[in-house]
Subunit: 298 residues, 2 copies
Amino acid sequence: MFTNCPSSTTSSHLIHLNRRNGAFLPRGCISQLSLRTTACGRGCTLSIRSSSFPSMIVIDGKAEARKIRDVITIDVLRMKESIGVVPVILPENSSEEDVILVQLPLPSHMDEQNIVNAVSIEKDVDGFHPLNIGRLAMRGREPLLVPRTPKGCIELLHRYNIEIIGKRAVVIGRSNIVGMPAALLLQREDATVTIIHSRTKNPEELTRQADIIISAVGEPNMVRGSWIKPGAVVIDVGIKRVEDPSAAHGYRWVGDVCYEEASKVASAITPVPGGVGPMTIAMLLSNTFTSAKRFHNF
Amino acid sequence: MFTNCPSSTTSSHLIHLNRRNGAFLPRGCISQLSLRTTACGRGCTLSIRSSSFPSMIVIDGKAEARKIRDVITIDVLRMKESIGVVPVILPENSSEEDVILVQLPLPSHMDEQNIVNAVSIEKDVDGFHPLNIGRLAMRGREPLLVPRTPKGCIELLHRYNIEIIGKRAVVIGRSNIVGMPAALLLQREDATVTIIHSRTKNPEELTRQADIIISAVGEPNMVRGSWIKPGAVVIDVGIKRVEDPSAAHGYRWVGDVCYEEASKVASAITPVPGGVGPMTIAMLLSNTFTSAKRFHNF
């Protein structure tokens, strides 16, 4: 486990972002960029010179999550006005019969197994029901709900207009809750996806081929700058508490990706914290609301 | 579409098959090989000189399928003797109530939708139920039945002792019935899997990285010799009828892989016909019997 990753890489290079061939235009960031549009249509080229602008865009999960929560808040109010129902976090004095949407952990007096077994696929707000995962994997089928963390990752790519179709994507980690569904989601969006896991022999070499990297291992600073193709987009799902006497609380949160190195190579990266984490929470709200709407035919 | 693929490749090279690093020992073929075992344990090296032995092994799906069918025949007889039940192909005069196992197409007087909707996951002999696919995708879950064609592909790899753990595998095609479940199966066996599809930009380059190639596209001779890493194992699922006035019936069956070229580069390859096809039928029998055993608690 690396907890430090000092780097000697410099960030003086020029990164060309091509709208057609894999680049992105973060919403709300356009005004901050100096656009040098060449005489072309769909293939116009943006140049971001690191001397005047950061060569790398920090994907602000916190800000995007706030926007999503704001939209959901308005929708929930509309639902309340219309049918008098709101999805709520269960208070401690609820009965098992009150449960219409399950998100673990439950209040302590409830039998988790009873309730989880009784959950229909429509109320599987975590999207972990095998029937949901099966539908996620299959072409021509739609899952009712998508696991929130991978959904949050893809949502960030969309919100930053990062092209996925035809891109090489590498997902590091194959857990049921993040890696595997993230790979299935990327596959659904026509990326060419490789899953890297503990038995993969050359993770660094394979990761370096990727245009989009989603890392969900939980191994601090595992993905170094040398693993990243210049211009790649990095979504860091990992988050671990690492002792750090110099930090305010004696620890700090560290992702799978050595941010210091990666931010000098990648074209866009999610910070830890403040990247995928807030999106995970927003996607849970989104799934819960979707589920409640379906339950009440709203 | 290529229907011919003449090649100028020669087959004079020596292929080293290393038991540990990606090689295989076909069951029943050991006596045909000249073994030069070096002084080592698990890492011993077999050398097959193409001048005296074929440098490439033809994976005989027909022979393996026959062995599987023979074992199932004995098991079915044992079931009949024990509980008086045999799984059967439905005769034309059956009623809808007779159906306990479904494999399409059904006799014409039956309502396919009625029956398919009524099929429980335990009787899904094709393994296409999303719940089965979901379980196939998830770690720690077991599908009740696995789609027969991809199951047949993996069964061939096992029967020829081809190592899968840690190998780079490429699946060409992402259909619900072959490509996607084949990728999930390889993933379950700890391969590092990439799915190549119509939106993949560099299929040739990616395929050339693979130790194991499963092609399931249905495009005759699409995978050329140049796509294959020397020593790779090639499983060709594709099968298309191609006009050929010189052939006995005016046509011949052609796979996705240009066999003439591939057989000079690969270490093992399935022929078309006689490779995956017979295994698909054997795996359907196997799934049907497994399903019947489960239904009757046998």
